[in-house]
């Protein structure tokens, strides 16, 4: 912290501030659009209303609840699957472990649409799985698991878990006691960071959902499915943005020409 700050500092603040504006302004805009009576005519001409928010809440409360539930289920799965495997990776420096790590991270590297399509091709025909909400859950877990593993693993490596565990062993701690009293408490910051990331991504990750969902919906075999509730929210947003003229009644067709499904 130098006491005197020159032009460089001012330029830095200005640049960073501009980036922040770039990131925040659209958020502000969308909030504004959300409470504008008629977006086409502008907020000043048409006034402010909570009618849209109400309608969204009214129509999609169920959807919102479902996404929250899905995010929590995703979190539970990534905790159960991710924390143990992160620990195994932290403890094992071998080549096999590196290979497993590589495989675990791959879902991030491979675009969601490819993974989504692959999932449908592999599991789409298996019973009612494809139309079940767990199908989307699988997608979310697949995509968020690497983040949980990474966050947890990073902290486990940073706190030098192997030495702490050796210390615990020297004091008589067996495997389970160690896991409970040393591994989990010391990895907690990483697990927490991973959890936040998983929930955020799961709530935000429509890609995976919509890829899988849309593909299923437009399945040439024509089998629509009801698991696409999340997707409805997507349509709604796209639709809201391109609302034709003064129409205030619930629109029948989305801008993308996809018939809104799922009347709750």
């Amino acid at each position: 912290m130098r006491p005197r700050r020159g032009a460089g500092f001012a330029a830095g603040v200005a640049f960073t501030g501009l980036v922040a504006v770039f990131l925040i302004f659209p958020v502000f805009l969308s909030v504004l659009a959300g409470v504008t009576a008629n977006y086409q005519r502008g907020v000043f001409a048409s006034g402010v209303t909570l009618a849209w928010v109400e309608r969204v809440l009214d129509l999609y409360a169920h959807t919102i609840g479902l996404s929250l539930g899905l995010a929590l289920a995703t979190l539970a799965c990534t905790l159960v699957l991710g924390v143990p495997v992160a620990y195994a990776l932290a403890r094992n420096p071998g080549r096999l472990a590196r290979l497993a790590e590589e495989a675990l991270v791959m879902p991030v590297a491979i675009p969601g649409i490819a993974t989504g399509l692959a999932l449908i091709l592999a599991w789409g025909a298996v019973g009612g799985f494809r139309t079940h909400w767990t199908f989307i859950l699988v997608g979310h877990v697949l995509f968020t698991l690497p983040f949980m593993v990474r966050a947890t693993l990073a902290v486990m490596l940073a706190v030098n878990l192997p030495t702490l565990e050796e210390a615990a062993r020297s004091l008589g701690a067996g495997f389970l006691a160690r896991f409970r009293t040393v591994v989990l408490p010391n990895a907690a910051p990483g697990i927490l960071a991973g959890s936040l990331m998983v929930v955020t991504l799961s709530l935000g990750e429509f890609n995976m959902t919509s890829d899988a969902a849309h593909a299923v919906h437009h399945d040439p075999a024509g089998r629509a499915c009801r698991l696409l509730r999340l997707d409805a929210a997507r349509d709604r947003l796209g639709l809201h943005a391109r609302l034709p003229g003064p129409a205030r009644s619930p629109p029948r067709r989305s801008a993308m020409g996809i018939r809104p499904r799922l009347r709750p």
Binding site: G172, A173, V182
Partner: protein, 342 residues
């Protein structure tokens, strides 16, 4: 309470095939403190881990505690206390939590646990730190907590991996005295690994000097210092003056004069002496030129060239010579002594 440790043909090979320890026999008596001394990579930490049960010897090596075979017993069932180089204090627990951890695992009732933790903290003279977080402790305090934690479970054997290395010089000396007193008082068998020869000689009842996966010599500090078994031990422990010359007519002939042969066999000879075995002596038969003189407070360390093939070092009290002076030296028996082969 304290156990005797017996290693029989214990070697250790890493998964990648490198030999960390050649098959080694070592007997540690109950209640003694053994210092394992050697340069980094000599296998001393591996030796400690084999005793601890953090690593297992290659067959057919065996580890015995009081004659009982514990070779396959993992560390958590060997009842050893261990102090790690990094201390490895649990960051999620406070000081009392760390010290009481082993007691908690042993289901010691809460009241008794607290009492014993308090006793150990008092013994380590850190009672006021009980509820401090470990990341708020200084190096010396961490060291004390680590010791208290290892001792609180009343192990039969205390293992210390470079316990004082991470501390600054003054603190290190203070703790060296304290740990030494503690080990004597507890009469617990202790093995500690160090690369610091002063530490090894101060703390160890016996010292094991290691090199390249092998124990070169085990003995008291005096034996190691004055009767080194190999040239490596002679050079690694203390400062060594190498006196290579020829023995003829009862004298060792060196480039700068002679020293009494002191029983060395006639012919070419490689002898040696320690700095304190030489003294400045106007009547001396060996002479050389002073190239450096270091004032160390209580003594002066003088480096002399021209007397032997290489530089030799001696220590003197009072006003020392200055660089450039030509001085004469003599040796006090038993120096010079024969330097053993490598």
């Amino acid at each position: 309470m304290s156990v005797a440790v017996d290693l029989r043909a214990c070697g250790f090979t890493h998964a990648d095939g490198t030999r960390a320890l050649l098959p080694t026999d070592l007997a540690i008596r109950a209640g003694e403190t053994l210092a394992v001394l050697g340069p980094s990579g000599c296998g001393k930490t591996t030796l400690l881990r084999l005793i601890a049960g953090l690593a297992f010897p290659d067959p057919p090596g065996r580890v015995l505690f009081d004659g009982r075979d514990v070779t396959r017993l993992p560390i958590e069932r060997r009842n050893v206390g261990m102090v790690f180089q990094s201390y490895a204090l649990f960051p999620n627990l406070d000081v009392a939590g760390n010290v009481g951890y082993g007691l908690r695992l042993r289901n010691v009732p809460r009241a008794e646990r607290e009492e014993r933790v308090a006793r150990w903290l008092a013994m380590m003279r850190i009672p006021e730190l009980a509820h401090r977080r470990v990341d708020q402790l200084s190096g010396g305090q961490r060291q004390r907590v680590a010791l208290a934690r290892a001792l609180a479970v009343e192990p039969g054997l205390l293992l210390l991996d470079e316990p004082l290395t991470a501390l600054d010089a003054k603190l290190r000396e203070e703790l060296r005295v304290e740990v030494s007193a503690l080990l004597r008082e507890l009469r617990i068998t202790a093995v500690f690994v160090t690369h610091d020869q002063a530490e090894a000689m101060a703390l160890g009842d016996r010292v094991a000097v290691m090199r390249a996966g092998r124990i070169e010599q085990v003995g008291t500090a005096e034996e190691i210092y004055h009767r080194p078994a190999t040239r490596f031990v002679a050079e690694f422990v203390g400062t060594l003056n190498v006196l290579a010359g020829t023995v003829q007519d009862g004298a060792l002939h060196l480039p700068g004069g002679t020293l009494p042969a002191n029983g060395l066999a006639p012919g070419p000879a490689v002898a040696a002496c320690r700095p304190e075995q030489l003294r400045l002596d106007p009547e001396g038969t060996l002479s050389g030129r002073v190239t450096a003189a270091f004032f160390l407070g209580d003594r002066v360390r003088v480096v002399i060239e021209g007397a032997a093939a290489g530089p030799i070092t001696l220590e003197t009290t009072g006003a020392g010579p200055r660089p450039g002076d030509i001085v004469r030296l003599s040796a006090a028996p038993p120096a010079p002594w024969r330097l053993p082969g490598p």
